[in-house]
């Protein structure tokens, strides 16, 4: 996986709380056995009308939101199931960063493992990222993982916290399993000493 250092792009705003994984990718698309090609099914029930055409009212379908590589949402984003198909779909659609007030735990981990940067910002900071609160697309956002900030085009800077270990993993794009396999001796020792039920 390529490392993630910084990213600039436009952000689409999804003004909703508790966006669950069934909304991000409905269950009928979980039957594939590979990781590719989920982007077209992202937010399927919101994005498409029953005749299969695009729903013009949906935020991500607005002309100015096309090509956005950052997604901004409310609190508890990604709640629900553990399906990694959700970050696969977001990534395949083109999102590299998700900014939200809070994330569900499993979803957050799933993003990190797929090279998507999930950023927690306060509701005030998220409001301030935009020029006005009704703005559905934020142009020219810069996200810097190394320095842990998001900057808007007015030059306002918003700091975020990030776990130092997962930061290092993301920055370097390391394969987590390879890293863990270096601990083989310790895993073996634990196995030899553990009490088996």
């Amino acid at each position: 996986m390529p490392g993630f250092k910084s990213h600039s792009g436009s952000a689409a705003v999804l003004d909703r709380n508790h966006v669950d994984t069934d909304q991000i990718i409905p269950k009928q698309f979980l039957k594939k056995i590979d990781k590719a090609g989920y982007g077209e099914f992202l937010f399927y029930d919101w994005r498409y009308l029953s005749d299969g055409g695009e729903n013009p009212a949906f935020d991500l379908n607005k002309k100015e939101a096309k090509g956005a590589s950052i997604l901004v949402a409310g609190k508890n984003f990604g709640c629900g199931s553990s399906r990694e198909h959700a970050p696969w779909a977001l990534k395949d659609y083109g999102f590299q960063v998700i900014i939200a007030e809070s994330f569900a735990d499993i979803f957050f981990n799933n993003c990190v493992k797929n090279g998507i940067l999930p950023i927690r910002l306060s509701v005030n900071d998220i409001q301030q990222l935009r020029k006005d609160p009704s703005e559905k697309v934020i142009q020219n956002l810069t996200v810097n993982l190394e320095e842990q900030y998001v900057a808007n085009q007015n030059g306002e800077v918003f700091r975020f916290d990030f776990d130092p270990y997962w930061k290092k993993m993301l920055l370097n794009g390391w394969d987590e399993i390879s890293v863990t396999l270096h601990q083989e001796a310790k895993i073996k020792k634990y196995e030899d000493e553990r009490i088996v039920n």
Partner: protein, 478 residues
Amino acid sequence: MSKTIIDKLWDSHVVVNEENKPDLLYIDLHLIHEVTSPQAFAGLREKNRTVRRPDLCFATMDHNIPTIDRFNIKDETSRLQVETLEKNCEEFGIQLEGLNSEQQGIVHVIGPELGLTLPGKTIVCGDSHTSTHGAFGALAFGIGTSEVEHVLATQTLWQNKPKQMKVNIEGDLGFGVTAKDVILWFIAKFGTNVGTGSIIEFSGSTVRGFSMEERMTLCNMSIEAGAKASVIAPDETTFEYIQGKRYAPENQDFKQSCERWSKLASDPEAKFDQVIEIDASEIEPMVTWGTTPSMCLPVSGVIPVKDPLSTNEEEQALQNALTYMGFNGNERIEEISVQHVFIGSCTNSRLSDLIEASKVVEGSKVHPDVRAIVVPGSQAVKREAETLGLHQIFLDAGFEWRESGCSMCLGMNDDIVPEGERCASTSNRNFAGRQGKGARTHLVSPIMAAAAALKGKFTDVRSVLPVKELEVNRYAGV
């Protein structure tokens, strides 16, 4: 230093503990199913890696399989997924209880009933409802497919230790109030992200009085409160349930294990980051009316009204939920008619759930406007229920009696609710589109679902049967 049960479970599984790193935790049991595993096995193959401990893995198929004519999977992609699991398990030497196995069932139903789920273990599965196994005093949590691959390759996971929350529930539950109502009430009161970043210990006299199956229902839906996991200290009820299960320790081993498991309980002085006290007598039979589990009311409740001028995000969410669910607001829960009833899922498909529901159903008929189905959680539950004659009670009343699987909880197979129709469901999620595009899900307990099936609308189950006939569920389990 005093430790909580969470500290004890955590500390005993730390393989690596270094500064500025999460802990590397050892995983004792890895449960696998067909939907979240294919890409993990493919990842191993790509890198020429093996499964480190196939003996600590256990697989079944549950999510996308049919519950009628189960050996004939018509949907090609579903069939490929099932066949892929068979192939992967064979190649990597993992025990699989597939469609033709007597032990097949929903992964969170069969783990406990086979004695694989035991106190003191760390248990993971690529499924968020892995929290269920915490009922035994195990540290059990759902993981994504990357983590499934990581566990397959290393039998470990890097984890930051979550915060700890104690939810202490004291007192007797009212007549007709079940473990399902307790967890729905908890989420309605404290919200779907009260547990985010935390592991919950459920304690108190109410929980101690619960059977293992009730405890599993409680822990199952802790993920709907956002919790990483939930746990209940093992006790005599736990040991009694485990004894004699197929893969449980036997004889002297079992006795020694019980002694060890008894020490897992939180020390009296142990500190939690947050403590929530609940009075069980406040809880009533609950019904969700919206599109998150926190949009939930007592059966006597009235649906909130939307304010069309409001722009606040929470108000907007309320409006979206009302619109999706086809409500104007101000409807009484007991006015809501249902077209479907689903008794099943990893939350409520165990024998005691079916026994309690059958008591409500016995001698009555399903309302003519309702399609009602019972989907036992496992082949073992189905066999046991049939031995007790429960299938006949349900069939006589007009229910369908199906084969085991996840079924209508998430509608990955043919068991879906049509657009705009309502389902009284004993499952765990009422998200928009969960049971089918445009389907309207109302989460309830098995006895409330049974009552709705008979009346064709939500009804206070306490009015359906006289007190003496409806014993509160205390069945010890399969």
